[in-house]
Every structure is written in structure tokens, then in C-alpha cells.
Amino acid sequence: MRPFAYERAATADDALRLHEDGAYYLGGGTNLVDLMRLGVEEPARLVDVSRLPYGEIELRPDGSLLIGAAVGNSDLAADRTVRESQPMLAQAVLAGASGQIRNLATVGGNLLQRTRCSYFQDADKPCNKRDPGSGCPARDGDNHNLAILGHSEACVATHPSDMAVALAALDASVHVRGRGGERTIPIGDLHRLPGNDPQRDTVLESGDLITAVEVPPLDIPSRYRKVRERASFAFALVSIAAALDVEGGTVRDVRIALGGVAHKPWRARRAEEALRGAPAIGEEFQRAAEAELDLAEPLRDNAYKVPLARNLIVRTLTELGEQS
């Protein structure tokens, strides 16, 4: 590992001032330290932002939640207010990693964790995301766990976060402090599709600091479900965050976001559109899922994700419909 300077920031201003070219912010380090050990990331300086005063979860009068970027993943999932008001978010966080990793990991770091594509994590292999222009061996190589939607010639990686999938379904937004001041980014615009520059996971600029995540209220049945290669402690093959509001047998509101299928949490807008105002029955759920997955372009080894995603959508909506 390349030597680096370490600084602990006390305030956001401090963090921005300490952040210079070649510097990285450090949350819990559960992704960054791992990538540094693998030689994938080589920061010259770490600016520790895990102790900034962004460790609180606030329930605001309008029912929205303001979650500080330094809140631990465990604390987020254990928080009584979150469990009451947004159980799907708690479920998604609990579906990720392990108890000991969630204790270290922060909300900001979780959003910005990098892909688990095995070529990206192997500094000896070419990879357009790690080394722009070097090629994408995953396209014709080990791609069983990579994207089926929204990928490009340059990169077929997926975003690994479970939490971000729930936040996508919840229409959350991300509060950012940058060199030009503060701004708020809808979660759907934070992560990018790979296009021709897969080295950029998000729209953030160098020095941008995530300070909080804002989650508007949503009071309808919802749930997060994750399919993986073993019962626990594995990344998603496909996951879903869904919410459904049925009145008089008709779909009034529906939210569907998929994980494990694209370079960003995939909000299934086509399926949602097909369902709004439709009868809340299995055939309609099936039709909507197929409308979404018509967009899929599976790779050699991951076509299984198409029926898997379809079945997840249908089953989860069916269950939610029964609770509605």
C-alpha cells in the first residue's frame, strides 16, 4: 500500500480545506481500505469525515427523515424512528454486509462504495473503470453477476449497495457540500450509467462531501428483498425495493427499484407507469415487469437475472397487494 497522510476533519469546512488533489474522504474505511490494500485506490491523503457532526437522524415535522452522512449503517437500521416510518430502508441496510462491517460503515461511504466487479478489484487486470481506455474484460469474461440493464460497451459493472436501492424507491435526495457551496441531488441522479466514462460512478466532483440523505415520507406497504448466492453475507444477484398502494383493487401508487442489475440503483419507471391505475392482480404485475425487462440486454452468463428480476417484482408486489 502506498504511504498516505491522515487527517481527521472536525468540520465540513475543515474537510473541504484538507481535501486536495489525490485526497480521499474516509468514512468507516470498509470499502476504501480494502481497495487500498488491493492497490486499486492509492490516495496520497485520507481526510477522515467519520466524526463530522453528521451523526444524527432527525424526524422532521413533515414526516421526512434527515439522516447524517456519518451515521453508522448499524445505527440507521436499529433506529426506532427509521424502523417505524421506513422499515424498507432498515431492511435494505440489514440485508447488506455483516454486523461487524455495518458497525464501521457510514451512510456516506455506503452510497459511494465501488463495484464488486472482480476485474475492477484486481489491479493486474485491464478495466476501463480503474484505468480508462484499458478495456473491459468482464464483457466477454466473468460477468455472471454483472449488469443486464443500462450497461455500455465500456463497462458492464453493477452498483453493489443495498441501501441505495431502497433510497431510490423512496425518492431520497443527497445533501452535498462542495467547493461551490451546498446542493441537493436526487438519489436517481447521483449514480451514473457507465456510458463512455465508467471511471465516474457518480456526478460528484472532486472534494464534494456528502453531508446527509433526506428521505421524504411514504406511508404505504413496502419491502426490500434480496436474492444472493448464500442465505446471508453476500452481495445481491438481484434485489428489489418496492412499495404499493392499492385502493378498491386498483393500484394508486407504486415504487419499484432494482439492485444488482445496473451501474446504479435501477428505478423501474416503465413498470411503475404500466401499473398506475391498473388492477392490482398478478397478470398486471407480470405485464409491468415484462415491460421493464424488455429493456434488458443480458450478457453471456447473466441471462438468469431477467426471469429472476421478473419473478421478484411479481412476487413482491403480490405480497404487498395482500397487505394493502
Binding site: M1, R8, L26, T30, D48, R83, S98, G99, Q100, N103
Partner: protein, 183 residues
């Protein structure tokens, strides 16, 4: 020397198993290497060095954490309990006793991490923390076998002592609860 390879050092303080240590560490040093190499506490094991096996689990400021992913410099001032610090006054904890009684290990390599992790699992359950298999997130979870399996899933055991581990954690949970009911 090339500035790129000149190590950077920092002075830190760690309270480990009740004893304060002032240390000069390379910023690159993990908490795990610091415990093992600088303090000679080799109970915590390095299975993978990537957060994937749990053999390095310690209690960091009272919470379980993978010491391999924690940079020592980032935890200046922290209180750490390793497997060496779980016994009190020469007496094994109820959990350690239960691991012996229930055959919670074979080779023992994963055991320090299992013990630190399970110590925290008991504490987390007492505080009402849910897990991925908790059906009702609004209620307080009960540590049944499914809950224990899920909560211990960050600790792998190559010997496959899982059956004994689940029994041991369950037994320790019942004992702790019974003792609390008495008190």
C-alpha cells in the same frame, strides 16, 4: 528516498483490554496488525484481510468490528477488547463457557472472532437491534436459532463448527437473561 515510499507515522493512544498504550504507527497499519505485531495480542486472527471472514473481529468502543478494515490511526483514543480481554478476573465469560460445553470449535482459528462477535450479538439483541431475519421491525427481536445464524453470518468457520456455535450463543443468551431476571 522517493517521497512516494516514505512511510507516514502517527502517535496514537489505544485502551486495549483495560491497559492504555501509546503507540507510533504507520498510517497504513490496520488495527489488526497493530494488535498482533505491536502489542503481541495474537488472539485476533487474520483470515482474509478483506472483511470477509470475521476472524479479526474485536470490540471497538463496545461494538464488534473487523480489525483488518480499521486503520489504527483512524481509531486514536479508542477502547478495544480482544479475545484476550473477554475473561474477567481469570473467569471465562458465560459465552466462552458455552463454546466449550457445546463444542463451538474444532481447530479454534475462527474462535477468537466468533467469541468477540457473539459477545456483541448478545449485547445488540439486548438493545433491541433487529437483523435481516427479524419479521417485525417494530418489535424487539428474540434470539432464536435463525436470528443467531443471521447475526453470526459475518464469521466464517472452515471447520464447520456452526451447529455448536449456534447452540453456544443460544445457551449464553438464555443464561444471561436468566441471570438478569434474578438480579
Amino acid at each position: 528516498m522517493d517521497s512516494e515510499v516514505t512511510p507516514v507515522h502517527a502517535e496514537i493512544t489505544l485502551l486495549v483490554n483495560g491497559t492504555e498504550h501509546r503507540l507510533r504507527v504507520d498510517t497504513r497499519a490496520s488495527l489488526l496488525d497493530t494488535l498482533r505485531e505491536d502489542l503481541g495480542l495474537t488472539g485476533s486472527k487474520k483470515g482474509c484481510d478483506h472483511g470477509q471472514c470475521g476472524a479479526c473481529t474485536v470490540l471497538l468502543d463496545g461494538r464488534r468490528a473487523n480489525a483488518c478494515l480499521a486503520l489504527a490511526v483512524a481509531h486514536d483514543g479508542a477502547e478495544v477488547v480482544t479475545v484476550e480481554g473477554l475473561a474477567r478476573d481469570g473467569r471465562l465469560s458465560a459465552l466462552q463457557e458455552a463454546f466449550i460445553e457445546q463444542d463451538g470449535f474444532q481447530c479454534g482459528y475462527c474462535t477468537p472472532g466468533q467469541l468477540c462477535s457473539a459477545t456483541a450479538v448478545l449485547d445488540e439483541a439486548e438493545r433491541g437491534w433487529p437483523s435481516a431475519v427479524t419479521e417485525d421491525l417494530r418489535g424487539d427481536p428474540v434470539l432464536d436459532d435463525d436470528e443467531i445464524r443471521e447475526r453470526m453470518s459475518g464469521n466464517l468457520c472452515r471447520c464447520g463448527a456452526y451447529t455448536g456455535i449456534v447452540k453456544a450463543v443460544g445457551e449464553a443468551a438464555r443464561k444471561t437473561q436468566a441471570e438478569e431476571a434474578k438480579a
